[in-house]
């Protein structure tokens, strides 16, 4: 039976039927010091179906694309059996659906470039790291290409093709490591940039880290670079604004709450050109749009997927349903977190802080959305004395209560960070590409550890 027929069949005995098919390929090349360490290529394909029956969703998937009938049947049985545990049944709200075919915007398809050319690029790039203290330099070049099809019983039929490229380097000395990344939803053209400057920046950072000591723990006025403020707005604020957490009562932020200063406006924007977290349609076929979540300090919406939009009253629909793979049901996820620029320059923020720290480079962190407690690791910190940077430190951990920090913001810069960054964000066992377009921010009385 073909897919349309199966969708129609199951729509007759359920409230809704949905189908996904994904075909993707990835390749990566790793250069370690002077030799090619690894090259790997992979192909993935698979199908999945989700059925809403008796007010409860059921989801099934397989890597075997010939098992369409089985995945529909399993999803339907799961929904029916589990519906007895569902206290409040899900009721469908009407949504606009589309038919569209989206081609990738990449100028140069990396899968059409020869392996030899990629290997030569990698070899030349890795050779740029020549600092004598470096024990190991490893650069990985990777590309992925995917074709995602989504169909549902409301006639949606979206086929999206995407290409991603990334370059990752790590240099290691006796005691320190420096990681740098360049990634975007672009093709091979991502690699056309000033590689020498990129390498120089990493080496300068390594030199600073090797000669610096740890910052003294305590409370500081802190100027945060876009790498970390991006992660702060994504991890601490963005996750707390995901609608499934309202349903699960595990977010510390509520609708209409005055959460921050009036200068703060926060968006989720999947339409930023080339950004790592961008897309045209979300994984439930909803057309992507820029959604305002905090307007002048007040929470006005939560990002949502269908399930949370149906279950939580008072939400405006956003296009944020995303799945990591064919085996994962979509959940509300951020795309690119964006903050409206402020009136200060970076330099003015440093001068305004007077005595404090400028923290740069994100190297990890996590947040508990229920309590709002977060902890981030910065690669570097710089001591600000009388409005001037006088000394560097290696590493610093920033921690606090997000609600307090949002109220302690003292300034937002006009400048944004590098657009070719972004990361993989994990939630409920799923990891998806996300990015940020955020400025420098200054915060008073932030807890800094080492």
């Amino acid at each position: 039976m073909n897919t349309e027929k199966l969708i129609k069949e199951y729509a007759k005995i359920s409230e809704s039927a949905e189908f996904w098919e994904i075909k993707s390929k990835t390749e990566s090349f790793t250069q370690q010091n002077k030799s090619l360490k690894a090259c790997s290529k992979s192909q993935t394909q698979g199908i999945s179906a989700r059925i809403l029956a008796n007010g409860c969703f059921g989801f099934a998937s397989s890597n075997d694309c010939s098992k369409k009938e089985q995945v529909f049947k399993t999803a339907y049985n799961l929904a029916k059996n589990a519906s007895r545990l569902k206290k409040e049944k899900t009721t469908i709200k009407e949504l606009k659906h589309y038919q569209a075919k989206i081609k990738p915007k990449a100028k140069k398809d990396p899968f059409k470039i020869s392996d030899q050319e990629k290997i030569k690029y990698l070899k030349d790039f890795n050779a740029l790291f020549a600092l004598k203290e470096i024990k190991n330099s490893e650069t990985t070049l990777s590309f992925s290409k995917s074709e995602k099809t989504y169909m549902n019983s409301d006639s949606a039929n979206i086929c999206q093709e995407s290409i991603y490229a990334q370059l990752h380097n790590e240099i290691v000395s006796q005691t320190e490591s420096v990681r740098s990344i360049r990634r975007a939803k672009k093709g091979y053209e991502l690699l056309k940039f000033n590689c020498a400057d990129f390498a120089k920046e990493s080496e300068e950072k390594m030199k600073r880290l090797m000669s610096s000591k740890l910052a003294k723990p305590g409370k500081y006025n802190v100027v945060i670079d876009p790498d970390i403020s991006g992660t702060f707005f994504h991890e601490a604020v963005g996750h707390a604004l995901e609608a499934d957490f309202i349903r699960e009562k595990s977010t510390c932020i509520s609708m209409n709450e005055k959460a921050s200063i009036p200068e703060l406006t926060l968006y989720d924007n999947p339409l930023l050109k080339d950004y790592w977290g961008s897309y045209e349609y979300d994984d439930e076929g909803i057309k992507a749009k820029k959604s305002t979540l905090i307007k002048n300090g007040e929470v006005i919406n939560f990002i949502n997927d269908k399930s949370s939009y149906f279950d939580v009253p008072g939400l405006k629909k956003t296009a944020n349903a995303r799945m990591q793979s064919i085996h994962d049901a979509p959940i509300p996820r951020m795309s690119n977190t964006q903050v409206k620029p402020g009136n200060y320059s970076k330099q003015e923020l440093i001068e305004k802080a007077k005595n404090g720290l400028l923290v740069k480079g994100f190297s990890g962190g996590a947040v508990d959305t229920m309590t709002g407690i977060f902890s981030f690791k910065a690669d570097e910190a710089f001591l600000i004395k009388n409005g001037k940077i006088i000394k560097s430190f290696k590493g610093a951990s920033l921690s606090g209560d997000l609600k307090q920090i949002l109220k302690n913001i003292t300034g937002i810069s006009k400048e944004f960070g590098n657009p070719y960054k972004g990361g993989m964000c994990g939630k409920k066992g799923q990891s998806v590409p996300v990015s940020e377009k955020v400025p420098y921010i200054s915060v008073r009385d932030m807890n800094v550890g080492n």
Binding site: S28, L36, K87, P217, A366
Partner: protein
Amino acid sequence: MSETKNFEWEAIIQTIKNDSIRIDKKGIDTPKSNESSAIIARAILGNKQGISISSDSKNMKESLLQAKSIAKIMPDFEQMPKILSTEKFKKKTLTYKNFTEKKLIDSAQEIRNIAEAKAPLISLSFSKIIYNTTYINSLGARIELKKDAIAQSLSIGKGDRTGSNCSILNEKKFSPQSFCRHALMQYENSKKASKPSQGNYPVIFCNSAAESILSPILFSLQADNVCEKKSRYQEAMQKKELSKDLTIIDNPHEKNNKAYYDCEANKAKKTILVQNGIINSFIHDSFTSKKLKMKNTHNSASTSIKPSTSYHCVQIKGKDKLSQMIKSTKNGFIAYDTYPEHTINKITGAFGQNSSTLYHIKNGEIQGLCKGYVITGNSYELFKQDLEISKETRNDLASNVGAIKAKATILKN
């Protein structure tokens, strides 16, 4: 497949069936049933090798062809190890055969009822996983392993008062009561909040908190990281780098976590990595053992990059009773879990971790939950101290690690 001289190959074919449900306060989240499959094929052409991965487990020929084409562009390995295994082995360990989809939902409901009788439910995830792995190679070796497991995670409470537990089991006796007990105990302990001042304290790291702070040490004991000069223990073989109280064993023969072979079809064996603080061995596969001229510990991992190693089951057991470790703490902390590993730098060992289950201990008694504290320190330094390690270990498939008591810095937000 053997048209080229010096062509050898090996492949791992894996299928996983995972049925899972997640329950929260509002009822059930989307139940799922996944059937995933993969082939990891490795081709060796003389001194070159290529690895390819595909989700189409039926198409071995194409996977090998791709692996072979990758091998052609790779440089020569200085010391390419030969494929040696001719083992034939088949083992099926299905503990939860009768655990049907309906029983899965019923068991989740049972856990929910036990938990909700004493505390509000935040979330409960429950899944049954069947792993089916087959190794084959050009010498005719064939290892077929089939096993199942149950994974569960429970979180209860409200606001500042919470309790949680998670585990992966393949024990015959599955007990919802004992699974809930740990989370309920934490919930009870969180009744009164405690606000001690920041400073250096003895901290008892339990469960995932112990595994997190241990991760840099384990990273440095992997021979692939030694080869890449990322390991802290590069030149430390037979040297005392860690506490005399610390012995780390990789043990594939643990009752609840039997591993039979590694990913090169070598029989899994017990390796003492650290004995009373002295570095005794790294974990190796055939590549690293050849390169570093050390014994192969049979810890090859199936990844897209060779060499790569992985632990079968890390075992750290002490002589102390956890209850005694708590009793002997005059003024300190106990952390049952910490947020994910990525707040730890495995190369430098620096960590700064939050914990939603950090409790203050005063005069040998757990006082209450400490909200808004960060545990900071350096793993490489922390494990040099005198340690107390508990007899009791976390009941998990991936590791068997006791609670570890050491001094660390506690910072207040």
